[in-house]
Amino acid sequence: MENIVVIGGGVSGLEAAGQLARMGYSVTVAEKNEKTGGNVKNWYHLFPDRRDSKEVIDYLNKLASHPDIKILTGKEITEISSRNGKFDIKSSDGTVLEADAVIVATGFELFDSRRKEEYGYGIYDNVITSADLEKMFRSGGVRLVNGKLPEKVGFIHCVGSRDEKVGNYYCSKLCCVTAVKQAIEIKEKIPGAEIFCFYMDMRMGGPYYEELYREAQEKYGITFIRGKVSEISVNINGKLVTKAEDTLAGRPLRMELDMVVLMVGTEMPEGNIKLAERSLLKCSENRFFKPVDNHYGSNLSGKKGIFYAGCCVAQMNITESISHARAAVSEVVNYLKNR
C-alpha cells in the first residue's frame, strides 16, 4: 500500500489524512505538538456563527481515527529529501519516515506581541492577546488580573499584520472578524462593559461576516474607531492609558481602559522557514510557502510528490482550509496514479 506522510495535524492535515485513508491509502501524520488540532484547539467559539470549536475538532478526530492513519505527535519535521521517487522525512528526534508522497500542512503561528513593545504585552498585566482571551472564555470568565470584571475593553486590530515595521506587509484576514466575534462575546458576558475596536480597515470578506459586524454595532453597541493605537502606558490606578488617533474625526484621543486585547496576526513559523530552506522549497515574500500558481496550482510545491494544504501557503479560515486539503488529496491521488 502506498504511504503518504502529512506534516501537521491541524485542520488541513487531519482533513487530508482522513480523506486519503478513506480512499485506501496508508497515512502517517507528523504533528510537532503533543496534541493534534492545530490553532483551532486553542479557540473557544468560531466565527461567524460562534459554534464551539470542539465540534470541528471532534469531526476531525473522528475522520482521522482510521486504521490506516498513524498519528505521531511531538514530532517536528526538519527536512524532506527525495530519492528514486520516494521521500525521506527527517524529524528533529533523528528518526526518518518514508513516503511515496508528502502533504505539507504546517499552518501558521500567531505573531509574538512582545515585538510590538509599545502595546506593553508582557509588561502590563491586562494587555492580552486574542488567543489569551479565548482561553479566558473557555476557562469560565473574562477577568482582570485583580479578579475584577473589566468595564472598558479595547481591541487593537492588525498587531503584526499590515505592518512594514515588523516586516509583515500582508493582511492576516482572520483577525477582523475574530475581533467582532470576541467583542460580542465579552458584551454578552459583561453587559455593562464598554468596548472599543481600533481598526485600520474592517475586512469583512466572508459569508455572514458583514452581518456579524452590523450586529456588533446595532445590537451590542460596540464602538469602532478607525485609527491605530500608538502607545499604551499604565497610570497610578492601574488603568491602561491608550493613545490613538481617530482618523475619521481627525483628532488624537487618549482613553483609560481596563483591558486591551491585541488581535495578533499570523506568521510562517520559524521552523517551517528552516524546513523550506533545507528541503529546497520556495517561500514567497511574506515567508509562507510559495505554490506554483496562485489560481490553479495552489497545492503544488513545484517539486513532484510534495503538496501543500491549508494555511502554510496563505491565510484561510476553516472552511477554506478543509477545501484546500481536499484539493491537495486529489492532487496526491493524481500524482500516485500517473507516476
Partner: protein, 635 residues
Amino acid sequence: MKDFDPFVIPFNVGLYFILIYSVVRCVIWFRQLSRADKLRLQRGFFSRAFGESLREIFMESLIHRKILKAKPVLGYMHMSLAFGWFLLIVFGTLEADIFGKSHLNPPYKAIFFRFFNPGHGNSLLAEIWEFIMDLLLAFILSGLLLAIVKRFLPGVVGMKKTTKLRLRDKIALTALWLVFPSRLIAESLTCGAHGSGSFLTGTTGAWLASFLPAESLAYPFWWLYSLSLGVFFILLPVTRYMHIPTELFLIFMRNSGITTGDKAGTFAEVEVHSCSSCGMCIDACQMSFVTGINNIQPVYLHRALRNNEDVTEKAYNCLMCGRCEEACPVGIEVSAVRMIQRRNKTGKPLYENRWMGYFREHLNHEPASSGKTQNYKIRSNIRVEKADTIYFAGCMTHLTPGIKEAMIKIFRAANEKVWFMDEVEGACCGRPLMLAGNDREARELINFNSDLIWKSGASKLVTSCPICYNIFRSSYYIDTEILHHSQYIKNLIDNEAIRFNYSHKKVVYHDPCELGRVAGIYEEPRDVVSWVADLVSVPEEAEKSLCCGNSLANIFLPPSKKNAIAVDAIKRLTAGNPDIVATSCPLCKKTFSRVSKTRVADIAEIVAEEISSVQSKRIRTASVNLREMVNQLLG
C-alpha cells in the same frame, strides 16, 4: 649646457598659476570668515597651534598616518605619492643647489635637473644622491602602480568600493598618472645617452639606449613630463586635487579652533574642498555595504557641493550615524556639513560657479518656509511639579515601556523624588525636527519644554533617550544638569544608592550612535553593565559601533532597507552567542528586538532586574580588579 629650453614653459605656467591661485583663494576665504574666526586664525598663527598644524600636515597630509592605521596598503599608496613627491622636490631642489651651476635656482631647474645636468660628476656624494633620487622615484612609482590597480581592482588595497569619477577628474588623473612614468622614461633616456644614473634610471637608460636613439627620444618625453605637470596644475582647482592645497589651510583653521558651525561659510567650504575623495567613508557606510546605496556618502555629497548640484537626496538619505566621520582621514566634520544642507530648505545650491568653477560665490536664498509658527499651547495643561530631579523618558521610550518601567523601579530603589515630565502628555524634545533641518519648528518645542523645566526648579534632568540627551545638552538654554540614564545609574552605583545581584549572563553592549559617536559616552554604560553581568567585547564597538538602521535622521530610506541594516548589525553583534544584547537607546532596542532571536534589553532593564537589598560584593570586586589590571597593562 643650456639654462633654458622651451619644454619647461608648460610646467612653469602651471606652477606659477597654481601658486598664485592658491594664495588668492585663501585670501578670499579668509575675508569671508566671521570676525571671531579671523581673530582665532590670527591668534592661531602665532601660538602653539602653528606648530601643531605643521606636525599634523607632516603626519596626515604627507605620511597619511590615519589611513595607514586603518588600511595599510591604501595608506602606503597615499604616502608614497604625497610624501615621496614631497621628498623628491626637496632632494631635487638641494641637488640643483649642490650639483648645479648656480645657487637659488628657479624651480624648473630642480624638476628637470637631469635634462640640464645629464651627468653631474662621479663623486661618491653624487652617486649616493643619484641613488636617493632613484629610490624616491621608485617609491612613488610603486604607489602609482597601486593607484592604477586600485582604480580597477579596489579590493587589492583593502577597499570594497572606489570613487566614481567625472571627465575633468579623469583628465587630471591621467595627467597625474603620466607625470612619474614620463619622468622615469625621460630621465632614463637622458641617462642612457650620457652613461649616468643610478639603479633605476641608469639601468633602464642603459638598456633602452642599447637599441633606441636615446638622445633624440628623450626630448619628447621631457615635453610630456612638463606638459602633464602643467595640465595637472591648471586643472587642479576644478578637480578633486584641489584638496592638496586646501587641506593645509583646513589644518591651520581647525587647529586655531574654528569649527563648522551650523551655517554655510568658509570653514564648510574649505572642508568640502579638502575632501580627497579617498573613499574611506564609502567602506564605513552601512547604507553602502548592506543596502547597496552608493551615491550619498560624504565623498559624493562633497563633490556635488563643489559642482553646485541639487543635493537634497544626498543630504537627507543618510542615517547620520557618524561612522563616516570617524573614518574620514582628513577629519572633515561631515555630519555638520550635511546638516547645513538639510537646513537649506530651498532645494537650490548655496554656491554658484564663477570663472568656470575656478571661483565660487555664496548665494543668499530667501528662506523656503513661510514663517508660520506652530503653537504648543494645546499642551499647556501639563502640570509642573516642583522636584529636584526630572525624568524625561522621550517619545521612543514611551514606545518601549519596558525601559520606562525599569527606570521607575530604579528611581524607587534609590529613593529619588522625581517629576516624570512626559508621563502622560509631553512635547517632543525637538531633535527629530532639527535632524530634518527644521530648526525654527524645533525651537518652538525647545522653548515650550524649557519653560516647564525652569518652572520645576530641578537641578538635574535624566532622560532615557540619547537623541533627547543631545538636544538638551546642545540646544536648550537651561542651567539644569543633563544626564543620560547610563550616567545617572553610574552615579547611583558610585554613591552606593542601589545594590545588585550579580547575574552571570553574557552581555554584549551596543553603542547607540547618538550616545557614542555624537555624545561621546562610551564608559558609563559599560561600567553599569559590568556591575551586574559579564560584559563581553565585540569588534563593532565604541567608535566603530554600527547603526541599528532605524535612525530618525533618515526619512528617505524605506523600512525594508532599514530592516536589512538591523538584521546585518544584529548578526554581527550576536556572533559570539551572548545571552543579551544590551543597548541604551530605546530606538536601537526597538529596532533590534524586532529582528533578533537573542534577547535585546536596555541597560536600565538589565539593572532593574538585578536590584537587590544586598550587593554581591565578592564577584564585583574581582571583576573591577581584573578590569583595572587590563587598563593598566594597556596603559
